[in-house]
């Protein structure tokens, strides 16, 4: 039991005194030395469109202005346009995103019934000011672009998957969204932040599914959109379909919303969050192994090209230290022929620097085995070394690729070609 006694004795002599106002103050930042050694995590955003509101509270925060080099890129970007490049947004999209984000303080969201801030994005203008006609047009163009891109991508994907699908529902949705954009931004009309309770469907655009059931109806919140506004495609929460997707996950929110139980943690107020199924960006690998199309777009990273590699595959490299495997990095594995007929295996990190994670000649004697679902294990003396303790000793390395087929392929290649 955590009872707390009074901090100060109150008497008939001091009760009427005004308390020395204790100030809230602001917390202090660690020194650069300390920060250097800290692993700073970035929180995953489930909804890439909904960022920046909280920046307001930290905007005046001087602590970050000190050593710019010590601050990782993500944090310099509270409310400023263009600073979130690294965050998985579309190419060139990050700038546009932030001009659209409301700079309204967080406090505003609690003044009334809960209003999803994404509504703010769609209805408010830059800097929270009332939209002028020109800004309104800009917004209109942005929204329209976003809508068209979304539709294009959706249609592309689904027609590629099944050329026989019926696209009528999509066109109906398109019409619906288009008219709502027109309503809000078309013709220079001010779509004010006063719309505290936008119709729920306006908050996040959603498209009904086509009639062909076989499509893996993944709900994705992150179709690549130039303006950075999120358009969601996928059916409204359909328990049967979703159930098949998420059968392995007991703690999934889908299974909850598909039950008839009232949500305990739903948002209060009339503008409740849309059904959660409509918004969740599902990036997990599903049973079909088809996750390519629904993933968030990767950041634009200049990859160092490796010519004359006859085989290249994205992979993750682990090395064995003591009893467990530790990650060395993520990168692309290349297999090249050397002049003396051997195979060279190079794994380069997927960063702009392209640093080498592994660079070895595949020896005939190198043990190479298939492990687990999608791994290949080899044992060799790693170059560059992984331990300073024993730089010339052999170390088991685990190469993890995306699919089991890929692993099979890699394993086969290595076995065949190692000489």
């Amino acid at each position: 039991m955590a009872k707390r006694i009074a901090d100060k004795e109150l008497t008939d002599r001091n009760w009427d005194q005004e308390d020395e106002g204790e100030e809230a103050g602001t917390f202090s930042i660690a020194s650069e030395d300390v920060l250097k050694n800290r692993a700073i995590k970035k929180a995953k955003r489930r909804n890439p469109g909904a960022e920046g509101d909280g920046g307001a509270a930290f905007r005046g925060f001087k602590g970050f202005s000190a050593a710019p080099s010590a601050i990782p890129a993500p944090f310099s970007g509270f409310g400023k346009a263009g600073s979130f490049e690294g965050f998985g947004l579309t190419n060139g999209g990050s700038k546009a995103l932030y001009t659209g984000v409301s700079s309204a303080t967080v406090g505003l969201t609690f003044n009334g019934p809960y209003v999803p801030p994404t509504a703010d994005i769609t209805t408010r203008q830059t800097n929270g000011s009332s939209p002028s006609p020109t800004q309104s047009n800009k917004e209109y163009r942005r929204q329209l672009t976003a809508l068209n891109c979304s539709v294009r991508d959706w249609i592309t994907k689904h027609v590629n998957d099944n050329p026989l699908c019926d696209l009528n529902p999509i066109f109906r949705d398109y019409e619906r969204h288009l008219s709502s954009i027109e309503q809000q931004h078309g013709g220079g009309e001010a779509a004010d932040g006063g719309s505290e309770t936008p119709p729920p469907s306006a908050a996040l655009f959603s498209f009904s599914r086509t009639t062909s059931e076989d499509l893996a109806q993944k709900v994705s919140g992150t179709a690549p959109v130039a303006s950075g506004i999120t358009f969601n495609f996928g059916q409204k929460v359909d328990s049967s379909v979703l159930g098949s997707l998420r059968s392995k996950s007991a703690a999934s929110s889908f299974s909850f919303s598909s039950s008839s139980q009232t949500s305990l943690f739903g948002a209060p107020g009339p503008a409740a969050l849309p059904p959660f199924g409509g918004t969740k960006p599902d990036e997990a690998a599903d049973e079909n192994g088809d996750e390519e199309s629904e993933e968030p777009p990767k950041p634009e990273v200049k990859e160092v090209k490796e010519d004359d590699a006859f085989y290249s595959k994205k992979c993750k490299l682990f090395y064995k230290k003591e009893a467990e495997f530790k990650e060395k990095g993520v990168g692309t594995l290349h297999l090249k022929n050397t002049s003396d007929g051997k195979i060279q295996m190079i794994i380069r990190a997927d960063t702009n620097l392209g640093n080498i994670l592994l660079n070895i000649i595949v020896q005939h004697s190198m043990p190479c085995s298939r492990v687990g679902k999608n791994n290949v294990m080899v044992v060799c003396v790693p170059n560059p070394p992984v331990h300073d303790k024993n730089p010339s000793g052999p170390v088991p390395l685990l190469i993890r690729v995306k699919t089991d087929e890929d692993a099979d392929e890699l394993h086969k290649l290595l076995e065949e070609r190692k000489g």
């Binding site: 004795e9 917390f27 202090s28 700073i40 995590k41 965050f87 943690f265 999608n374 690729v401």
Partner: protein
């Protein structure tokens, strides 16, 4: 030992009369002196002839013309002669002369009187029941001396003043008993040692007997107020509380005074209760057993700030006790008054009320439910949004205690009252402890939500509020624990661990982004 402000105040009461009406006790004192003076004047005429002592001051509030009275101007020799004579009359006059000298508001020569060895004499005069006027004057003199600095008070105590005063309980003169009560209250208020000495000699019995006397209602209001004041001094000094037996003896009298209708009496009684409840659960129990809690709750609504403050403090103290003691307060209907208290214009009252709520929400889920049913949660959220900082701290405690003790429904209710936003807003404060507590509360809410599969909703809400940046920013905090905790929260609730496109990772804690600005692609794993 009491601080200088305390005996200064005592001095003020008796001597300075500067701040007119600064407190009613002050006025009481002045009135008393005036009345006594009148009475004395009559007695003088009866007893004495005219033999006036030179340099007598007729008025206690005498003008500064006699500031810095030179020693030779008062006839110390004459006083000594009078005091030491066998003649009651002379003794009386001498004592009265001293009383008048000491009653002036301007540097009364207390030390001169002490060093003349007169204290012993005056103490002995207290016992002259056959001559009440001398008793009265002597009591007055000694009271004045005891109201000086600690050394001066000590001189009176050492000289046997306490039992001397207590003996005056049997005087048939109300005024004399009142004077004695006053003196004892003054001495007891000095500090725990003096207080306990008064108790040891039975001083509390004297006070209690007065309160329990059937004549209580016939006493002048000033007297009742004096009694209350002395009683509260006998309860004061909570760091070394009075003996439990004495407390048990005083409580019934206190309860009786709690039902009086005078504001000052009520205020004094509530202060006494606030001191007595500010202790161990055993002490709280003794108070609660008297059944005075409902009366305290009643007094919360009396509209008088001087009563509200100590009554609220008393109840706040009681709910720091056991769950049962807390329940007593709830059963008396206290929470019905709390909406007004949590919105009170005085931030101190808001703070005390929020503090009380924080201790109630740390008790049992059923008690949390009573808090909820009283409609207090939205008010707490309001406080978190906007209030005096100290009040906000108490609200933070109330919230975190609820997240620890509350049921799923209660925690989710708290969440639906929009507590998250204002909580997050407080994550910028200087105090590391508060930040850690807020993070814990947020974490508790997230865990609760997760346990019913709604973690995603809350995470999304936090994201929509724009509060992820706040947690991320805390990783830069100078306090290592804050860094670790915020880091852990991100890892636990906001990381992409499950979404490794290569499958579920093996043993690896390192889904991190280090400071290398180029290392952006690792975000996704």
């Amino acid at each position: 030992m009491e601080t200088s402000t305390d005996y200064d105040e005592l001095g003020t009461r008796l001597h300075q009369f500067k701040n007119k009406g600064r407190n009613a006790t002050e006025q009481t004192r002045r009135r008393k002196e005036f009345h006594v003076k009148l009475r004395k004047a009559k007695k003088d005429d009866q007893i004495l002839e005219r033999r006036h002592v030179q340099t007598l001051q007729e008025e206690p509030t005498s003008s500064p013309q006699v500031s810095g009275l030179l020693p030779q101007q008062y006839p110390l020799q004459e006083i000594l002669a009078g005091v030491n004579s066998e003649n009651r009359e002379d003794q009386f006059l001498a004592t009265q002369a001293v009383r008048k000298i000491l009653s002036r508001d301007n540097q009364p020569p207390i030390d001169r009187i002490i060093s003349a060895g007169l204290i012993q004499k005056f103490v002995s005069f207290l016992g002259l029941f056959e001559c009440p006027p001398i008793q009265f004057e002597a009591a007055w003199v000694l009271t004045n001396i005891a109201s000086g600095n600690p050394a001066q008070m000590n001189a009176v105590v050492v000289g046997g003043g306490i039992p001397g005063f207590i003996r005056l309980a049997s005087s048939s003169y109300l005024k004399i008993r009142e004077q004695a009560i006053w003196a004892l209250g003054s001495i007891a208020g000095d500090g725990p040692d003096c207080r306990d000495l008064v108790i040891k000699h039975g001083g509390h019995g004297f006070v209690v007997a007065l309160v329990e006397s059937p004549d209580l209602s016939t006493f002048p209001l000033a007297f009742i107020r004096n009694i209350t004041w002395t009683l509260s001094n006998l309860c004061r000094h909570t760091d070394r509380p009075p003996p439990l037996e004495a407390v048990k003896r005083m409580l019934p009298a206190l309860v009786r005074l709690l039902h009086h209708n005078d504001k000052e009496v009520l205020s004094g009684a509530c202060w006494a209760v606030s001191y007595l409840t500010s202790g161990s659960n055993e002490r709280i129990e003794v108070v609660v057993q008297t059944g005075l809690v409902p009366r305290l709750v009643q007094l919360l609504s009396c509209g008088e700030h001087s009563i509200l403050a100590p009554a609220l403090r008393s109840l706040g103290n009681i709910v720091t006790g056991t769950n049962e003691q807390t329940q007593c307060v709830l059963n008396a209907g206290a929470l019905a008054v709390f909406p007004a208290l949590l919105c009170h214009r005085k931030s101190n009252i808001q703070k005390e009320a929020a503090w009380a709520v924080s201790n109630i929400t740390s008790g049992k889920a059923t008690q949390i439910q009573e808090v909820i049913d009283a409609g207090l949660i939205p008010l707490l959220v309001q406080i978190l949004q906007q209030a005096d900082y100290k009040t906000q701290l108490e609200a933070v405690w109330a919230v975190i205690n609820l997240t620890k003790v509350g049921t799923l429904n209660q925690v989710s209710y708290l969440y639906r009252c929009n507590v998250l936003g204002p909580l997050f807003n407080l994550l910028t404060v200087k105090d590391d402890t508060i930040i850690l507590i807020i993070l814990e509360a947020i974490s508790n809410i997230l865990q609760m939500a997760e346990s019913v599969g709604e973690g995603e909703k809350v995470c999304l809400m936090i994201e929509k509020l724009g509060d992820l940046e706040k947690i991320e920013a805390l990783q830069f905090h100078s306090n290592e624990s804050v860094y670790k905790y915020s880091n852990t929260i991100i890892d636990r609730f906001f990381s992409g661990q499950n979404e490794d496109e290569f499958g579920i990772p093996e043993a690896n804690p390192d889904h991190c982004v280090f400071h290398a600005p180029d290392n952006q692609s690792t975000f996704q794993f």
